[in-house]
C-alpha cells in the first residue's frame, strides 16, 4: 500500500518530534535536571546551529540534490565575519552583509555548476568545498593573518547569547527561521514549485516552471544558511577556528533525513528536519550527561540514526 500523502508526511514529522521528546525524558531520568527549562534551551541553542544548516540542506535535498560545501562555507563565513568586522559593532552590519553575500555567492556557483554544466550535485558541491577551503586558508594565511584572531562584534555575540523571556536570542532566531521556511515551503508558490521539481523536473518544466532558476536559487539559499550558521557560531564561540564547519555536514544531512525528508527529493518538510536537528543534539547531550566516552557517543549516534530510519525512513518500493 503506498502512502501517498502530498509533500508532508505528517507521521514522520510527528515521529521526529516524538524522538526528541523521548530523548529529553530519558535524559531527565538518567540525569535529573536535564529537562529543566534552562537545560533544554541551551541544548536547543546548540541544535539551532545544526538546524540552520539543515534548512539550507533541506531546500536542496527536496529537489533531489545535496550540498557538500557546508563545512567550508560555514568556516569561511566565520573567518570573513571576524576579519571584516574586526570586533567592532560599527562594522557589524557591513560584515554580516558581506558574509551572507559570500555564502549566497558560493551557493550560486554550486547551482550554476549543477544546472548549466550538468555536474552532479555531489561533485559540484564537493569541489566548491575545496575551492572555498583553499581560498579561505590562502587568503587568511592559514588563519595567521593579523585580523584573524579578532572576536565577533559584541552585537553579534549578544544576538546569540542575550536571553529574552528565558530563551536565548539565537534560539528565537531559529524559531523564526522554522516558521518562515515552513511557511514558504507549504504556502508559497516558491515552495510549491520546489516540491514539483523534486517530484518530476520534466513535468514541472512543461508546466511553465523555470526549473533552472529555481534550482540555482535553492543552492544559493543553502549557501546563505551555511553562512548564517557560521556567523552565529562565531558569535557563540567568540572566535573563528579551523575545521569548525566539519561536523555540520553529516549532521545536517542526518537531521534532514531523520525529519522525514526523502533523500530522493519531492517530499518532507523543514518542520521535520528541525525536529531531527533537535533530536540529534538531544541525543548527543544525553550521552554526554551519561559521561559516555567519545567512542560510545559515536557508536550510539550511528545506531540511533539507523534505528529511526528503519522505523520510518524506508523509501517506498521503487
Amino acid at each position: 500500500m503506498t502512502r501517498l500523502l502530498p509533500s508532508v508526511n505528517a507521521l514522520r514529522v510527528l515521529a521526529a518530534y516524538g524522538a526528541a521528546v523521548l530523548l529529553f525524558v530519558i535524559g531527565e531520568w538518567v540525569h535529573p535536571g536535564f529537562a529543566s527549562f534552562g537545560s533544554v534551551t541551551s541544548i536547543l541553542l546548540v541544535a539551532s546551529f545544526v538546524g540552520l544548516v539543515a534548512a539550507g540542506q533541506c531546500f536542496v535535498i527536496l529537489i533531489g540534490g545535496i550540498d557538500l560545501s557546508v563545512p567550508w562555507v560555514l568556516n569561511a563565513a566565520a573567518i570573513l565575519l571576524v576579519t571584516t568586522s574586526l570586533g567592532e559593532d560599527g562594522r557589524a552590519l557591513y560584515a554580516v552583509a558581506a558574509t551572507l553575500g559570500m555564502g549566497a555567492l558560493a551557493g550560486l556557483a554550486n547551482g550554476i555548476g549543477v544546472v548549466w554544466f550538468g555536474v552532479p550535485a555531489v561533485v559540484m558541491t564537493l569541489a566548491m568545498n575545496g575551492i572555498i577551503e583553499g581560498l579561505a586558508l590562502g587568503l587568511s594565511g592559514g588563519m595567521t593573518c593579523s585580523t584573524c584572531a579578532s572576536y565577533a562584534p559584541p552585537v553579534i555575540a549578544a544576538a546569540v547569547h542575550d536571553v529574552w523571556l528565558g530563551i536565548p536570542a539565537a534560539l528565537w532566531l531559529w524559531l523564526a527561521v522554522i516558521a518562515v521556511v515552513s511557511f514558504v515551503l507549504s504556502l508559497t508558490r516558491f515552495g510549491r514549485v520546489t516540491y514539483a521539481i523534486g517530484n518530476n523536473a520534466r513535468a514541472a518544466y512543461l508546466a511553465g516552471i523555470n526549473v533552472n532558476l529555481t534550482t540555482v536559487g535553492l543552492y544559493a539559499l543553502s549557501g546563505l544558511f551555511s553562512a548564517m550558521a557560521g556567523i552565529l557560531l562565531v558569535g557563540f564561540g567568540g572566535q573563528a577556528s579551523l575545521g569548525m564547519g566539519t561536523p555540520y555536514l553529516f549532521q545536517s544531512i542526518a537531521a534532514v533525513v531523520i525529519g522525514g525528508v526523502s533523500i530522493l527529493g519531492g517530499s518532507g518538510s523543514y518542520l521535520g528536519a528541525a525536529a531531527g536537528a533537535a533530536s540529534l543534539t538531544a541525543l548527543v547531550s544525553v550521552l554526554l550527561a551519561l559521561n559516555m566516552p567519545d567512542y560510545g557517543r559515536s557508536i550510539i549516534y550511528g545506531v540511533v540514526i539507523l534505528a529511526l530510519l528503519l522505523l520510518y525512513g524506508r523509501e517506498q518500493r521503487e
Binding site: 555536474v119 568545498n129 560510545g296 557508536i299
Partner: protein
C-alpha cells in the same frame, strides 16, 4: 528466407551498418580512456615540473613514494567504485579505514604467520562491516547515503575505542612487504586488484552489479537477486577498505584512529575522476585506480610548482570541476556522433 529480417541498405553488405568493434570499444569506455589520458598528462606534467626543479626526471624514489602513498586511496577507490556501480554510495569508507588501521597498529606483532593471519582477519572484519551496510541497503531497503552516513559514525567510534590515541607500531618487515620503501613493488598488489576486477566483470556477480546499476527492476525481471548482489558489492567494498587501512598502517608505520576520515570524500573524487558514473551501471575500477593516481599527481604537481600550499584545496576543487565538465563534453561528443 523470406521471413528474414535481412533489410540491407541499398548499398553495401549488411555488415556495413555495423561500426567496427574498435569504434564501439572507444565509445563505450570513454570514461576510462579519458581518465587514463588525464593521468598520463598529469604524469607528464609532473615529470616536466620535476625536471625544471631538479634537473632530472623523477626516479625510483619519487615513483616508489608516489605509489606507496597512493595505495590506500587506490584500494579504497576500487571498493567505492564497485558500490557506486550498483547505484549506491559508501560514506563509511573513512570509518572502515580508521578501524582497520587502528587494529593493524595494535595486532601486527609477532611472527610472519601471526601477522598474515591478522591481516586476513582484518580484511574479514572489513567485509563484515560491508555486510552490515549491505544488509541495511539491500534487505532494509534504506538509501545508501544515509545508511553509510550512520555506519561511518559507528565505525569511527569503534576505531577510537580500539586506539584512543595515535600509536601502535607496524613492524618494518610488514611495511617492506606491502609498501616497500625502496621499490615500487606495491604495484604488484594493484595488478592483483586489476586482475580481481577483470575476474569480477566476467562473473555472474559482476554482471549482476552492472545490471542493477543500469535498471534495478529490469535486472530483477531478468533473474538477478538484487539483495544478494548489493550485499556482495558492499562486502567487497568493505574488504577493500580494510586492505586500504592495512596499507595505510604499513605506510605510516603507526596507527591513528582518525587518519582514514578523509578517504571517504577522496574515494568519491577518485571514482568520479576515473569516469565511473555516480548513477550506476557504467564505469571501471581501473578508472578508479587512475583517478586515485590523478589525485596524488595533482598534489605532487602543486607541490613542485611551489604554489602556496594553503591554496592546495582550491586547485584540487577547481581541477575536479573542470575534469568533470570536460569529461561530460567529450562523452557527449563521442556518443553524439552516432
Amino acid at each position: 528466407m523470406p521471413s528474414d529480417l535481412a533489410i540491407r541498405p541499398h548499398a553495401g553488405p549488411a555488415a556495413a551498418r555495423c561500426r567496427p568493434p574498435i569504434a564501439h570499444a572507444l565509445g563505450q569506455n570513454a570514461g576510462l580512456i579519458l581518465a587514463a589520458v588525464i593521468l598520463l598528462l598529469c604524469i607528464a606534467g609532473f615529470a616536466a615540473m620535476f625536471w625544471l626543479q631538479q634537473q632530472r626526471l623523477p626516479g625510483n624514489f619519487e615513483i616508489t613514494s608516489t605509489v606507496n602513498n597512493t595505495m590506500p586511496l587506490a584500494l579504497a577507490a576500487v571498493g567505492q567504485s564497485i558500490v557506486v556501480l550498483t547505484r549506491g554510495i559508501d560514506l563509511s569508507v573513512g570509518g572502515v579505514i580508521d578501524l582497520t588501521n587502528a587494529l593493524a597498529a595494535i595486532w601486527l606483532t609477532g611472527s610472519v604467520l601471526h601477522m598474515a593471519g591478522v591481516s586476513v582477519l582484518i580484511v574479514l572484519i572489513g567485509a563484515v562491516a560491508g555486510l552490515f551496510n549491505g544488509l541495511l541497503v539491500g534487505l532494509g531497503r534504506l538509501q545508501p547515503i544515509v545508511v553509510t552516513l550512520a555506519t561511518l559514525s559507528i565505525f569511527q567510534g569503534l576505531a577510537i575505542r580500539v586506539l584512543p590515541q595515535p600509536g601502535g607500531a607496524v613492524p618494518p618487515g610488514y611495511t617492506d612487504v606491502l609498501v616497500n620503501p625502496n621499490q615500487p613493488t606495491a604495484l604488484v598488489f594493484l595488478v592483483i586488484a586489476v586482475a580481481g576486477w577483470m575476474a569480477l566483470r566476467r562473473s555472474r556477480l559482476g554482471v549482476g552489479i552492472f545490471a542493477i546499476g543500469n535498471d534495478e527492476s529490469s535486472a530483477v525481471a531478468l533473474g538477478v537477486n538484487a539483495m544478494r548482489t548489493k550485499i556482495a558489492a558492499y562486502m567487497i567494498g568493505g574488504a577493500l577498505y580494510a586492505l586500504a587501512g592495512l596499507f595505510l598502517a604499513a605506510n605510516a608505520t603507526a596507527g591513528d584512529a582518525t587518519t582514514g576520515d578523509g578517504y571517504t570524500l577522496s574515494s568519491i573524487v577518485a571514482v568520479v575522476l576515473g569516469g565511473v558514473n555516480l548513477f550506476g551501471g557504467r564505469g571501471s575500477a581501473v578508472g578508479a585506480i587512475c583517478g586515485a593516481f590523478i589525485t596524488t599527481m595533482i598534489v605532487n604537481i602543486l607541490f613542485f610548482s611551489h604554489i602556496n600550499p594553503l591554496y592546495q584545496s582550491f586547485y584540487e576543487g577547481l581541477f575536479l570541476v573542470i575534469a568533470v565538465v570536460f569529461g561530460a563534453l567529450i562523452g557527449r561528443l563521442v556518443r553524439g556522433r552516432r
